[in-house]
């Protein structure tokens, strides 16, 4: 069906546009420049700056083109004298209070990009005091409208500068375009910024001028990205001028697959710029991606030279020596005593090369990645022939009901969390009875593009998303499988299952139904602590308001197969597979978890997720090859790896940072960070995207693929050093990748989700949860977006650690009373061989012998180096909650 086209003339050029577009969009599409200040591609038009006014034939006045819908036969002129005069006069009165040194300096002709001089303008409006000099949209507009003279005395507002971390605010530069207010509210759903005062003194502020973090800011930097002037700027590198080189690449922090643009100047990463065309994230980031990159790449802890341990100490060596030592160690050890540990932050190519070296070069089945026990996800493989998503991030826009289980997308995959908020916050606008009206604030009456979606949260503790949820199911920790099975039983009993879908597209339903039939809902209630009515309500909501999208995270994975199997079955029973807006979206812990599975860098799963008959055995390891840095050795989970390493004769560490692993390393091969290498990564929606090198590796460090190729060569395995060739090899083996060309992944990486013709129901094997041993408390970790989960050396991310919330241990009132813990007081958490102190928060929502904490690092490491803890989902080798004892401190 061909869409109707609208033809109009802009500046004498015939332009074709879609109906519903604005004149501004049509002009931009045709490459005609119309100046704008308050308009922004990510936001609804606001119509305040009036820079985009145009003249339209047979129309009175000068309408703002950002709000003017196109119409057939419209004749628009964008730069007549009258229009330019209006723009010029507005700018002229605008810059009476906007520092204008950069426009009026008589040395402007001799000025070149970003070279500050201290000579001419008065300090109030000097160009070098503005961080946006040469990156300023107002400058560009001034150039366009040809401001030649300023007839009006300049007044400096003298507003105090902001003192917030990460974001530097200087509202003396603000032009009140309201972009920051709108992006924070419309897009991010937070509304930290607001307009304060009226008339000429209108200014942007947080509510009551409180610090940004107190106003609810999550430091996503969206306001910095949209600010057209220098009022909101990233604190770091803000006076470094614009980047000389822009590199589009993929964020390596979490698996959303956010594309961003790295600004590089003289070999240094200055900052991260937004890419509003990015397919997964549309120009939105979280604090890690937005502010944590430059620090991460240019870090004093980066490894710069290969090292080999001689006489007990690591000494610098040449690459040839180091590679030879590594190859020798691998060759000299019996294959079954060699283990490979990889982080799933590596690219697909590196992971593929690694498994090739391990399997073909060494011949060992001991291949381990972050998520050691991938078999928890096997029900996905059973049903869909692969472990992976059956939906995409774009499906969030189409789904009617979200079921979020064992996950906090707001903190772990913030851009996905943001999207959920966008579609669940828009209030369906209904007024309460008149008598209540005065107590009622309806919030922003956004033009509802569609009705808001339902949100069902299944989580033992409240998260940020709770305020948007229709139902919060407070499940007893570790019993999600029972709960989901109970939902399925209700759906089957009440005839809400999609029988047609089940008959047509699934196999194994009868066996599955038989297993569910025996389930006793009272038993489910008893085990999960969720009442029967609530069970019925949630089941009805999810089954009736379709399409439904299931998102699950580490909270489910650590519970093992049954929970994942139950979720897969729930999707199949309700027919929520293979339809727009429906499906399952696993929220992994690290950037390329999906890629690691596809590339087969896991024991038991070969490239293309082919089942292999491999059983890893880590008991008699003599040689370890570790690729990556996100390995912890201190906490309870890390202790197991530490024990393995202590037994090893050779430990080859290939990483980018000087991590505690170096204490055990016999060979150190300096790799690179994601900003220094080429390749592809696969996001949680299975979108394959290109990672690009933006800066040169420090010192002698080499791209990881190059190192792996060298190792492979010495072991007799052919691995190309060129990512394109490795990708081609990988693409032959992964079904979805067939036909993908590395070079063609240029801007918008494709989603390679292919679904089988029929879906098999997984086995549902429910086991009664074991009671916790006496006296031990189960602690469940959460995650904070201020932290890279690389807790091994959080010193790396100095920028991010400037914003911190304290480590808080949440306990229920009953437990706190029993242990004598006071709200806000300290508590010592004692685990198996480790202990630390946290602050107690008593949460009325919690009951039983469970506790939660946000897994994050606070302050410098304590003397014993133990003040760090692992994050089970992203971490090895033991996943899941911890059993600890709690003791009050000083009591």
């Amino acid at each position: 069906m061909e869409e109707r086209q609208v033809k109009l003339t802009i500046d004498g050029v015939e332009v074709t546009a879609r109906p519903g577009m604005t004149v501004l969009q049509a002009a931009q599409q045709a490459g005609i420049y119309i100046p704008t200040l308050c308009w922004h591609p990510a936001l609804r038009p606001w119509g305040a700056c009036r820079m985009c006014v145009v003249e339209v034939e047979r129309q009175r006045g000068y309408p703002a083109s950002c709000l003017l819908p196109v119409a057939d036969g419209m004749v628009v002129r964008t730069n007549t004298d009258a229009v330019q005069e209006i723009r010029r006069e507005i700018i002229e009165v605008l810059i009476t209070e906007h520092p204008l040194g950069c426009l009026t300096c008589h040395k402007e002709d001799q000025c070149y990009t970003g070279e500050p001089c201290l000579r001419s303008p008065h300090v109030d409006f000097r160009c070098v005091t503005c961080p946006a000099n040469y990156r300023c949209e107002l400058q560009a507009v001034c150039d366009y409208v040809e401001i030649s003279e300023v007839r009006f005395p300049f007044k400096y507002r003298g507003l105090p500068l902001g003192r917030d971390p990460l974001i530097a605010t200087d509202f003396n530069l603000c032009i009140v375009c309201n972009r920051c207010v709108r992006v924070c509210d419309e897009v991010r759903g937070i509304a930290v910024w607001t307009m304060e005062n009226r008339g000429a003194t209108t200014i942007i502020s947080t509510s009551n001028g409180q610090p940004m973090v107190d106003a609810g800011c999550i430091m996503c930097g969206a306001c910095v990205d949209v600010c057209p002037v220098g009022a909101l700027e990233e604190r770091q590198n803000r006076h470094s001028g614009p980047g000389e080189q822009l590199v589009r690449t993929i964020c390596n922090y979490c698996p959303v697959g956010c594309q961003f643009i790295l600004e590089v100047r003289r070999g240094r990463l200055l900052r991260v710029g937004p890419d509003y065309d990015a397919p997964a994230n549309r120009g939105q980031y979280c604090v890690r991606g937005r502010f944590g990159v430059s620090d991460f790449v240019h870090n004093p802890m980066r490894l710069q030279t290969p090292m080999v341990r001689k006489n007990g100490t690591l000494a610098p060596a040449t690459w040839a020596e180091a590679l030879a030592a590594a190859a020798e160690a691998l060759k000299d050890t019996p294959p079954e005593q060699v283990a490979f540990f990889a982080t799933s932050r590596l690219t697909n190519e590196e992971l593929y090369a690694l498994q090739k070296v391990a399997r073909e070069g060494v011949g060992t089945p001991n291949l381990t990645w972050d998520l050691l026990d991938w078999t928890a996800l096997e029900p996905l493989h059973t049903a869909f022939d692969k472990v992976g998503p059956t939906a995409t991030i774009a499906d969030i826009e189409k789904a009617r009901t979200y079921l979020v289980v064992g996950a906090d997308p707001w903190e772990t995959v913030p851009v996905v969390g943001m999207k959920v908020v966008q579609y669940t916050r828009t209030p369906a606008i209904t007024l309460p009875p008149a008598s209540d009206y005065f107590n009622y604030l309806p919030g922003r009456a956004l033009l509802p593009e569609r009705e808001r979606a339902n949100l069902i949260l299944i989580n033992p503790r409240p998260t940020h998303l709770n305020r948007f949820a229709d139902v919060w199911v407070k499940v007893r920790p570790g019993t999600d499988a029972w709960l989901i099975a109970g939902l399925i039983k209700v759906i089957l009993e009440d005839g809400l299952a999609d029988a047609e879908f089940i008959n047509r597209e699934t196999v194994g339903f009868h066996d599955f139904e038989a297993a569910v039939r025996n389930l006793d809902l009272d038993q489910v209630s008893r085990i999960t602590g969720v009442g029967r009515e609530e069970l019925v309500r949630v089941a009805h909501l999810f089954a009736q308001d379709r399409p439904g999208l299931i998102m699950f995270g580490g909270g489910i994975v650590h519970q093992g197969r049954p929970a994942v199997a139950a979720l897969v079955a729930l999707a199949l029973v309700t027919g929520n597979v293979g339809r727009p807006g429906a499906g399952i979206l696993p929220l992994y812990g690290t950037a390329n978890s999906q890629g690691a599975l596809d590339a087969g860098a896991v024991a038991g799963l070969g490239p293309g997720q082919v089942h292999l008959d491999e059983t890893p055995d880590l008991d008699s390891i003599k040689t370890c090859y570790i690729v990556g840095d996100s390995f912890d050795l201190e906490g309870p989970a890390g202790l197991q790896l530490r024990r393995i390493l202590e037994r090893c004769e050779a430990v080859i560490v290939q990483g980018a940072y000087a991590s505690p692993l170096l204490d055990f390393a016999t060979v150190v091969l300096p790799g690179v960070s994601f900003a220094e290498k080429e390749g592809t990564v696969t996001s949680l929606e299975r979108r394959v995207q290109r990672v690009r090198a933006a800066v040169r590796p420090p010192g002698e460090a080499r791209p990881d693929l190059t190192i792996l190729a060298e190792i492979g060569r010495s072991l007799g395995v052919e691995v190309s050093v060129r990512p394109a060739e490795v990708f081609a090899e990988l693409a032959e083996q992964v079904p979805g990748f067939a036909g993908l060309d590395y070079e063609e992944l240029e801007f918008e990486g494709p989603i390679v989700n292919t679904l089988p013709e029929t879906f098999a129901f997984p086995d549902l094997q429910l086991a009664e949860p074991e009671p916790a041993p006496d006296g031990l408390i189960t602690v469940y970790p959460g995650r904070s977006f201020y932290r890279y989960d690389l807790t091994t050396f959080p010193e790396m991310l100095k920028t991010l650690t400037t914003v911190g919330r304290e480590r808080v241990l949440e306990v229920g009132p009953e437990l706190a009373a029993r242990l004598g813990l006071a709200d806000g007081g300290p508590v010592r958490v004692i685990g198996d061989g480790w202990d630390l102190v946290a602050r107690v928060r008593i949460s009325a929502e919690l009951a039983g012998d469970v506790a939660f904490w946000d897994f994050e690092y606070v302050g410098p490491p304590a003397g014993n180096g133990r003040d760090r803890l692992p994050d089970p989902f992203a971490r090895n080798p033991v996943a899941g909650p911890l059993k600890v004892r709690l003791e009050p401190v000083g009591g």
């Binding site: 009036r50 000068y62 010029r88 009476t96 307009m195 007024l431």
Partner: protein, 563 residues
Amino acid sequence: MSLETLVAEARSRWERKINPDRPRIIISAGSCGIFAGARKVKTAVIDALKRLHVDASVEKTGCVGLCWAEPMLDIQLPGRPRVAYGPLTPAEAAQLIEDVVGRGNPRVDKALYVYADAPYEGIPSREDTDWFKLQYRITQRNAGIIDPEDLDDYLANGGYEGLARALTMTPAEIVDAVKKSGLRGCGGAAFPTGLKWEFCLRARGTEKYVICNADEGNAGTWKDRLIMEGDPFQLIEGITIAAYANGASRGFIYIRDEYPLASSRVRTAIERLKARGLLGDNILGSGFSFELIVRDGAGSYLCGEEMGLISSIEGDRAMPRSRPPFPATNGLFYKPTVVNNVETLANVPQIIARGWEWYAGLGTERSKGVRTITVSGAVRRPGGFELPFGIPLKTIIYDLAQADPADLKAVQMGGPASNILPADFVATLPLGLDELRDAGTTIGSGGLVMIGQKTCIPNLVLQLMEFLRDESCGKCFPCQMGTRAYYNTLYRICRGEGRPEDLDFMLDIAPAVQFGSLCGHGQVAHVPVVDTITHFRHEYEVHIRERRCPQGVCELSPVATAV
């Protein structure tokens, strides 16, 4: 209860009220009267009655529009007509009561008029006085006569005839009648009301709203207050008819926060109407339900702007949205919405009750109907007059308000951001919407401010601009920054620090402010500046070149005087 029964009961009560068996003292208790001292007058009256040992009923009424005569009171003795007296100090009022009630002396010296067809004891009949003989009171017809908190008074005086008739018509017929009547918006823009209703009626959507804009913020305009304080029932009847005609089941009346009395009277009226089944569910058994919600203004001038008002009701900062889409299709909560001024809606009941032909016969061919004009400033008798279109402005200024021709310098027409024209020019114009537009001006919201010879024009504009600057909502650049630039420039001029090029600068940025601004506030913010530079340029030039203020109003800076 049917309307007939209600009206019959109300009529009998009203008859008893206006034919009393004991003295009636009716105190004019609008905000204007109260500020002028009506409360003290009331106390004095009660004390005087006590001293006289007379059993009398002391009642209240709204303002009749004679601001200069406040505080006023009416006295009716049994078997005599009702006589209005004013202005009165408390002592004078006490004396008056003693004379009139105690001694039967009609006190012709203090009397204004009598509510009778013929003069009484030498006191002229109300309709023969200068102030009333030219008026045609529709929205104000009950103001100053009835008790604004007594529904029976309103019902006995033709109340709810309009709604009763409207409920027998289809919405389309009502819209058609309003269209044909020629009623135009009284808030300033003078958009044909029927047309606006038609857009809303045709707009898709089951949920629609009616909003009454009672955020009367223009300096020199108080007509809406007169209606809300004098006769709130008529306004609510009008809103109810508008709701019925537009298919709205919920409406808002957004009352300026500075009008606490108006707000309280409207709230009281809503309670009274609900109690009698004239508002709320199933009005008069017709099946039509309408809920009216009073919303207190958020205190900014821009809350009175149509779109700003909508934002404010939605709970947001009052910042106008861009048009189109217009409120008729995307208004409150993006639902079709009719936003009308108080006076516009207060005209509707009579238009429906008496028929559009009657209303269309008033006024002139081009401007139909009547309009309340409030006159203030350099006049002897400020007040509010409801006048049919076509009357010369000269008559209003010199005859009704009794301005001194020798003292009058200029006239500002309808609001702080409106034309400031020389008095001689204004005297040549008739009252009329299109007629004034032809002359390049407008009646705006109907407030005429007379500017006397002692006023320094640049200083006046400076003060207007301070208001306009502070009340700009801060959204669009031209308004926010243009008013700031105007203020700063005028400030310098009035300080004696003006520069010759300042006047050209102000004229230069006028088109940007006018055509660039998002809403009416900015679009007209330049008008006082441009008008006064056009008509009173010499006053600016004296400030700039000679560094002195001819009227001696501006405080010139010492640096400037030294030149």
